[in-house]
């Protein structure tokens, strides 16, 4: 296929890498390589001679990839890459989504765009999933704390579960805090005193 590109994905997490590969395949019959090893990264990338390299913006090895975009001496040419920032808006969107894309100089934007769009969408999805996971985790922890605080109040003051919760809520409102924060303070204090 004329539109096929050679794409390198630098990603340690296997699941994530597979997700990216899947979404890129939907945009064409590309030749895709996943590099998970940090060691020998610049050599491996140079050998594959890709058209596009995708790497998570939070990956410290970005600086290693970045090196391939500059010549090592005036006599040399960059190994293969050039950071194509011809479309600044696209680059900005990509970075906000959490992916940086290195594209070989001179490639037509219409060949690259579907690939970058797919990568950006995938990284936005990762970002959303991570946020959701963190929110769920926090909610679970808060629930556990509130349950423990309720239990302590029920035992010490001999009140019902509903009354215990109402007490926590009132205390939180009076202090301008979250119920979970009051519960945490109570649990910590109880641990210190016991």
């Amino acid at each position: 296929m004329a539109n096929a590109l050679t794409i390198v994905i630098v990603e340690q997490d296997k699941e994530r890498a597979l997700g990216i590969v899947d979404s890129l395949h939907e945009t064409g019959d590309h030749k895709i390589h996943v590099l998970a090893e940090e060691s020998g990264l610049s050599r491996s990338v140079a050998q594959l001679n890709p058209d596009v390299v995708l790497i998570d913006v939070t990956n410290p090895s970005r600086d290693t990839i970045e090196q391939l975009t500059t010549a090592s001496s005036p006599m040399d040419r960059p190994v293969a890459f050039f950071v194509d920032r011809s479309d600044a808006q696209m680059t900005k969107t990509a970075i906000e989504a959490g992916v940086s894309a290195y594209v070989v100089d001179g490639l037509q934007m219409d060949r690259i765009k579907p690939v970058l769009d797919a990568a950006i969408a995938r990284f936005q999805l990762f970002h959303r999933m991570r946020t959701e996971l963190e929110t769920t985790k926090r909610a679970l922890e808060e629930r556990k704390l509130i349950d423990r605080a309720k239990g302590m109040l029920m035992k010490v003051r001999g009140i019902s579960e509903d009354e215990a919760y109402a007490l926590l809520r009132k205390s939180a409102m009076d202090q301008g805090k979250k119920v979970a924060d009051v519960a945490e303070a109570l649990v910590t204090a109880a641990e210190l005193l016991s």
């Binding site: 060691s39 600086d63 005036p74």
Partner: protein
């Protein structure tokens, strides 16, 4: 009065201290700023966050703004160095295998003599693969300058490879590198983990090299002159505070928590004090001017420093005639420094450019209001750099 929010990024390194101290000790707040600090995972990402406006200012490698004026940052906007925030701070070291070769030749490992070290390193097998954090860095400029003066050609006799400092020890153990140049604590930590040795502090190549700068986009500075001025004053106060040896222990404690560097305070303390473990046997060497934050004109962004960096970059990358060192030096904003720091009594030299490498001892020079002392300024080969007009 509500505070102006300024988002500033940094790499979690010892020399990020000026921004961290400006926030922690309330210097920023006293200037009417709420400094929101954000650590970056790599220099490329920090540069992009700044270039695309997600942060307003950053702790940055001094060659990066100069590179932006020489077309080396393809398509990114022009960045400025508002002031220098630290001088020196890097070390050059060798892998275990290369250390062994030098030991067998009876090399002294005095951690001082750049000529003896250069001759010894030039006699090692070529090409010498040298790891450093980023291609556009004082690390790369000084290593290139030093080794090329011993007849080694970049790209042929020595290869510069960008490796994130935390991965440096692993790269040496995997035999991907023969040498490395990094800031502390990574030099000592690399030696500890990979059984190599430290050969020289980079201050032995240039005794007061501008290492990190406070950088911002040129258009952000011109659009927000008052905020930029407040930020510079807050950071200068932090640099002055950091230059007092009595504050060293407190600085180490301040940098140590996970939200900043995530290092034990002993290691941070050792790096701040310029004490190194030069080999895995635990030998310690000291270097007094290892890392400096202020005093002796360090924070002043000299045009001649910008010009020196620009000329080095032009030589290293073979940059086209469309760009000139004379234009690029202007990203070192001595004009802005004068304008914003005069009211707080900073020492302002009469000249904005100086001959680099010409001071064997600290020397008095005229300022706008009297005199000031400039620190020792020497290159390893006693060459003098005159930026001209």
């Amino acid at each position: 009065m509500s505070l102006k929010i300024v988002k500033a990024g940094y790499m979690p390194l010892i020399d990020a201290a000026p921004l961290i101290v400006a926030h922690e000790l309330g210097f920023a707040e006293e200037e009417g700023l709420q400094l929101e600090l954000q650590a970056a995972p790599s220099w490329s990402t920090l540069r992009d966050l700044l270039a695309f406006g997600q942060i307003h200012a950053a702790h940055m490698l001094s060659p990066v703004p100069v590179a932006s004026a020489l077309g080396l940052l393809a398509g990114l906007p022009r960045l400025n160095a508002m002031m220098v925030t630290s001088a020196n701070g890097n070390v050059f070291g060798l892998s275990g295998a290369m250390t062994k070769r030098l030991e067998d030749q009876g090399f002294a490992f005095d951690f001082k003599d750049a000529i003896a070290a250069g001759e010894a390193v030039a006699a090692l097998p070529r090409p010498l693969r040298i790891g450093m954090p980023f291609v556009l860095s004082m690390h790369a400029e000084l290593v290139s300058l030093w080794l090329s003066s011993f007849g080694m050609v970049a790209g042929k006799d020595f290869l510069i490879q960008a490796v994130p400092p935390p991965l440096m020890a692993a790269a040496i153990e995997n035999n991907e590198l023969d040498a490395f140049c990094v800031g502390e604590p990574w030099g000592s930590m690399t030696v500890e983990r990979a059984a190599g040795s430290l050969v020289l502090p980079m201050a032995a190549i240039w005794s007061c090299a501008p290492e990190k700068v406070l950088a911002a986009r040129e258009d952000w500075i011109s659009g927000n002159p008052a905020v930029a001025g407040s930020l510079m004053r807050a950071v200068l106060r932090a640099c002055v505070w950091l230059s007092d040896p009595g504050n060293l222990t407190m600085t180490a404690e301040m940098l140590s928590p996970d939200k900043y560097l995530g290092l034990s305070s002993e290691i941070a303390d050792r790096a701040l004090a310029g004490r190194f473990m030069i080999n895995s046997a635990g030998d310690i060497r000291r270097h007094n001017d290892f890392l400096m934050f202020e005093g002796d004109g360090i924070c002043f962004p000299w045009r001649s420093q910008g010009r020196w960096i620009a000329e080095r970059l032009i030589e290293r990358f073979g940059i086209s005639d469309a760009y000139s060192a004379k234009d690029a030096e202007r990203v070192f904003r001595s004009d802005l420094y004068r304008e914003n720091l005069l009211p707080v009594g900073a020492e302002l030299p009469l000249a904005s450019s100086k001959v680099e490498g010409s001071l064997a001892v600290p020397t008095e020079v005229p300022t706008v209001s009297g005199t000031m002392i400039l620190g020792r300024n020497r290159f390893f080969n006693d060459k003098i750099y005159d930026p001209g007009q």
